[in-house]
Amino acid sequence: MQDIKRVIEENNGKIVVEHDYFLLVEVSREHVRKLARTLFEAGAYYSTGVGSDERPRNGFFAMYHILNHEESKKYIVLKVEAPEHDLRIPSITPEIEGANWAEREAHDVLGIVFEGHPEPERLILPDDWPEGVYPLRKDFKYNEKVKPVRKEEKFIEREDALVLPLGPFHPTLHEPEYFEIYVDGETIAGARYKGFFIHRGLEKLAEGRLTIHQIPFVAERICGICGYTHMICYCQAVENAIELEVPERAEYIRTLLLEIERIHSHILWFGVVYHLLGFDTGFMHAWRIREKVMDIAEMLTGNRKTYGMSLVGGVRRDIDEDKKEKTLKALREVSQEMKKLFNDVLAMKEILNRIEDVGILPKDRARSIGVVGPVARGSGINTDVRKDHPYAAYKYLDFKVPVYNGCDVLSRYLVRADEIFESIYLIEQVLDQMPGGDIMVERFEVPEFSVGVGATEAPRGEDVHFVITHRGSKVYRWRPRAPTYNNLPSVPVMLEGEHLADAPAIIGSIDPCFSCTDHVTIVDDSTGKILFRGPLEDAIRRLKR
């Protein structure tokens, strides 16, 4: 702990806020790059970056780089400021690869220029968004409409390979995402990712219209599977910002539901992966077992998807003895059935061959990209927010973090399999130790411009929310960062050198989230024309010749 503070101070960083959970460090533009590199070398990895328009307050734009330092159990928030007339901040992407997306996003939404960024392309705004309009600036109204500009679609041409677009709508991709895969015969020579087709502008909506108590209900709708973890993450960020203590019983109930969510999300993932491998029997069994977990969630929260359960300050519903017993009974059944399913599946060589030594993500590369959750743990990195930055009731509980060194799809599979049983063990402890008392703190003051960071271990990895509070129970800036944001940039690394037929399983192995309309196009490299059906067949025949 002292070491990291010394490192920060020696590199011209000024610690402004020292919280149990995070350090807020102000650093000038000249020194940010060196400080970021030193922290990365000291073991911190890039978690996320948040741009913020603070002109109404002091005339500056700010960039917050959030680094996760597991050793000292703290998040380190580096704040760099730039005045409006000179909006340049040195990019730290050349030092830490993981900052790439966060800096591009800050440029898109606020117009901050990152000097020395290796890939200064548009990331989250659509192609037809006009230049020079920055939606997250405070002078842009939340319900303002912009006139789209026409732009030609362009594909990157490569002479050595055929371009195979996968997406934006494809059954193996859980959300509208677009992978441009360069294939040489059957082997993947490279891949490029383009996403953010369904950016919903939640941040602007929250800043513009919602109050602190309404945002949890928007936050939980970020994800259709692991929504509860986003809600808790947001609540924790606000609770950290205003230094609010949550009653212990509420912490236990939150933990219980977070673990239930992890179980159903992981079982869902197993179903999806079996389906991607063409093993639909396994898919049906996994989802049949998952239904029991969904019933528990419905019984405990009144909603199949654990929605509407928490608020800043606690949880909204209590749990009685009857519900406890029903939960334990159902989980025992789930545990037995999942064990049986895993044994059956791993006895099938044809499944094992498809996932073993496929989609390799080496440990050092994983670290520099900053992957999180089961993807990181499958590459031999021992990281888990529940252990590194204990929140809710995890500090009172005993559990193991499974880590596998295979760096392949099988390792990620095994990490998730182990986690299901760890979660069941955790729930048994929670129900056994749950103390009595209140479940909600209802009255609290919200100070102005108080910064808070909240983090949870979502089923897909580390989930980080950053909040700056505002007067009148509002937020000045809210930035949720879902785990897939950090995991997706690793997919092109995993795909390189693999067979095209393995692409679905590899993309699926990071567990991105599921919407499915089939849509595959092949682009003829020479003309750049998109071909469908008839022409597609012709093109394939021509290629074969």
């Binding site: 209900f217 029997t281 909603n303 049986k340 099938m348």
Partner: protein, 174 residues
């Protein structure tokens, strides 16, 4: 190839009965605390609009008609996310979430619930203020301040309060 895993899988599949439910031909079991369609009781509603203020998706809205003297409170199920914040915030228990979840309709009008409440007039200037029932509720349950000021519109209230303070200050001075 390994036939063992497949064989075990087959046995496992055969040992499970059909899991699909017969719904909608048979009713589906609903848990005790299920959150379904919100229903507003127009007899109980006092028109305080607390529910409209907490509603995250703006499913509950209110509009004051100052010409006719009505407050119209509207619940639109098309926007509802069934969070139950309205139920938590209602001081008289007029809005409650039921277990009803079959909300499909051929007409959008079926998704609206409307409560129309008469507004009271400011006793000083005659402008419409808040619903009668809300004032009645505050008279009975509200804090024991000057009850008279409940009958005033915000502008008159601040004027009257200034006058009272002025007279009070003068009295003290004398």
């Amino acid at each position: 190839m390994s036939p063992m895993g497949r064989l075990r899988m087959l046995i496992d599949s055969l040992s499970h009965p059909r899991v699909t439910e017969k719904y909608p031909y048979e009713p589906i079991p609903i848990p005790e605390d299920f959150r379904g369609k919100p229903e507003i009781d127009p007899e109980k509603c006092i028109g305080c609009a607390a529910c409209a203020r907490v509603c995250p998706p703006n499913a509950i809205t209110f509009r004051d008609d100052h010409e006719q003297g009505y407050r119209v409170l509207q619940v639109f199920l098309g926007r509802c996310i069934f969070c139950g914040r309205c139920q938590d915030s209602c001081p008289v228990g007029a809005i409650k979430l039921t277990k009803e979840f079959e909300l499909v309709s051929l007409s959008k009008d079926d998704l609206y619930q409307v409560v129309k409440l008469e507004l009271a007039k400011c006793v000083r200037c005659g402008k419409y203020t808040v619903p009668y029932r809300y004032i009645k509720y505050l008279m009975e349950k509200g804090p024991k301040i000057l009850k008279y000021e409940l009958l005033l519109c915000p502008e008159c209230k601040s004027e009257v309060m200034t006058l009272i303070k002025y007279h009070y200050a003068q009295e003290v001075h004398e």
